[in-house]
């Protein structure tokens, strides 16, 4: 049985007994080819997304396998993009799975020459302290001409335009409550 199967799996045998005597097709098909299936086939889920590059807003389908992004493709349902993507959109998987992506908080001391690692929690506390301190130190109740301004010019922000609306909303809301007015983004540039 074993030997017979072994011989039967020899393509030459298939050449001699099958419909592909020249061994250019059916007889030459390998086990890998017979078992081939696209990796999207076994994805755990397909998540609908939007391309993060330009503002055309192409639809994307994000395939997830084992908690990892395994493929990103255009969403054919999108009336904007009809499933198509440009080179950047097509490189989205590389963008989100890039090995050079930073995954740890890094900290550079004043006058320091190298990065140091810093736990995220600690960084959040330190940044909050800096914000409160700088705000207090640079707070303007009134400007030089006595007009009420209620603000700080000591803190500024420049945001990209790849942020979600909800993120921009929280930023603007928090900054405004902080009295920080120098809040800007790519739209000015």
């Amino acid at each position: 049985m074993g030997i017979r199967r072994w011989i039967a799996s020899w393509p030459v045998y298939r050449q001699l007994t099958g419909s592909d005597p020249l061994g250019r097709g059916a007889a030459a098909k390998s086990r890998g080819s017979r078992e081939l299936s696209p990796r999207t086939h076994d994805a755990d889920r397909v998540v609908r997304s939007i391309c993060p590059y330009c503002a055309v807003g192409c639809g994307q389908q994000v395939y997830v396998s084992n908690g990892k992004v395994s493929q990103i493709e255009g969403d054919p349902d999108s009336p904007i993009s009809r499933g198509r993507l440009c080179p950047k959109g097509a490189a989205s998987k590389q963008l989100v799975t890039s090995p050079s992506r930073q995954q740890r908080v890094l900290y550079r001391k004043p006058y320091g020459t190298e990065w140091e690692e810093l736990p995220l929690e600690r960084a959040m506390e330190m940044i909050a302290d800096r914000v409160i301190e700088t705000r207090g130190r640079t707070w303007q109740e009134h400007d030089a001409r006595g007009r009420r301004v209620n603000r700080t010019l000591g803190i500024a922000s420049l945001g990209g335009a790849t942020l979600d609306n909800e993120e921009n909303y929280l930023m603007k809301k928090l900054y405004t409550a902080l009295g920080a007015v120098q809040v800007e983004n790519q739209a000015r540039i």
Binding site: P11, G18, S19, D20, P21, L22, G23, R24, G25, A26, A27, A28, K29, S30, R31, G32, S33, L36, S37, P38, R39, T40, H41, Q71, I72, E73, G74, G83, R84, L85, C86, P87, K88, G89, A90, A91, K93, Q94
Partner: protein, 304 residues
């Protein structure tokens, strides 16, 4: 070779000829309409993302915006960029001389968009999935094989890197991957086809320059498009690889070009090398017979 197993010429059903049963799927392919290619290279990236093709290195080639250079083991799609000067009616009419020498296409594209003074041809090249595929024919291991879709695919679990397919390809498509040793090229996304998906490049192509489908249907579509362009005065438009009677029996991936094929780096009249294989074997047999005869002859006559 028997007439059933043809090595060249018309062949209606390459998958059937390769031993697949009559219920095998229709032959599929690409029609790449370069008249709407915007050279974005989405095809190159989408292909690499799907097929996990390695990066091929950073190298500014200075060939217009083409930094890929050619098809190969690590570039299964390659967008060619060709800058050409063409007459500029607005310049001649205002009598200004831009000092443009008269180089450019020998048959000057009549309908090159007037006024531009130049045109920029872009074309996404890919494996042609020939009806008579030399790479497949010469492959000694059966790694390269004809799929049930009529396409030509390297089986990576088989290839032993003998390299024979590489000089056999009349288009210079297939290449050997450094550090891996095996031969690689476009699979027409064989794995996706099995799942009813279209190849990654065709799916991504923003302007539908790369069209995927049943080959017969694509050929009709291409004929219509060609007629349309000719009607619009784009006389230099031509189909390349569409003719099932050409030297490779027609390409599974064919093109609408706006200049001579060689301008895009394509051979003007490729012929599958195995077309001549029967003749080659005959010559080799004759030569072998000559060798045998010579040996025998040398031992005739005086012993010393």
């Amino acid at each position: 070779m028997s007439s059933v197993y043809r090595l060249s010429g018309l062949l209606a059903d390459p998958a059937g000829e390769a031993g697949y049963r009559d219920d095998h799927p229709e032959r599929v392919g690409f029609f790449t309409d370069t008249s709407v290619c915007i050279g974005c290279k989405a095809c190159e990236v989408a292909c690499k993302e799907w097929n996990l093709v390695p990066e091929q290195g950073l190298d500014l080639l200075g060939q217009s915006y083409d930094n890929t250079g050619a098809l190969g083991a690590d570039s299964w799609r390659h967008v060619a960029f060709i800058e050409q000067r063409v007459p500029d009616p607005s310049v001649t009419s205002s009598g200004t001389d831009l000092g443009m020498p008269g180089i450019g296409a020998p048959e000057q594209p009549a309908a090159a968009e007037e006024g531009s003074g130049m045109r920029w041809l872009m074309s996404s090249d890919v494996c042609k999935h020939c009806t008579h595929a030399a790479c497949l024919d010469v492959c000694p291991t059966g790694s390269l094989f004809r799929t049930e879709f009529g396409t030509v695919v390297v089986q990576e679990d088989i290839c032993n890197g003998c390299g024979y397919c590489i000089p056999a390809c009349p288009y210079g498509v297939i290449g050997q991957r450094e550090g891996d040793g095996r031969a690689w090229k476009c699979t027409l996304c064989y794995d996706r086809l099995g799942d009813g998906l279209e190849p990654a490049c065709a799916k991504a192509c923003p302007t539908d320059s790369i069209q995927f489908g049943d080959l017969d249907e694509l050929r009709e579509r291409a004929d219509r498009r060609l007629a349309e362009l000719h009607q619009d005065g784009v006389g230099e438009a031509r189909l390349y690889g569409r003719d099932p009677d050409d030297g490779v029996g027609g390409d599974g991936a064919f093109f609408l070009l706006l200049d001579e094929p060689e301008v895009y780096g394509l051979p003007p009249d490729p012929v599958v090398t195995t077309r001549d294989l029967p003749a080659m074997w005959k010559h080799a047999a004759a030569a072998a017979a000559s060798v045998a005869a010579t040996v025998v002859l040398s031992f005739l006559g005086r012993r010393r």
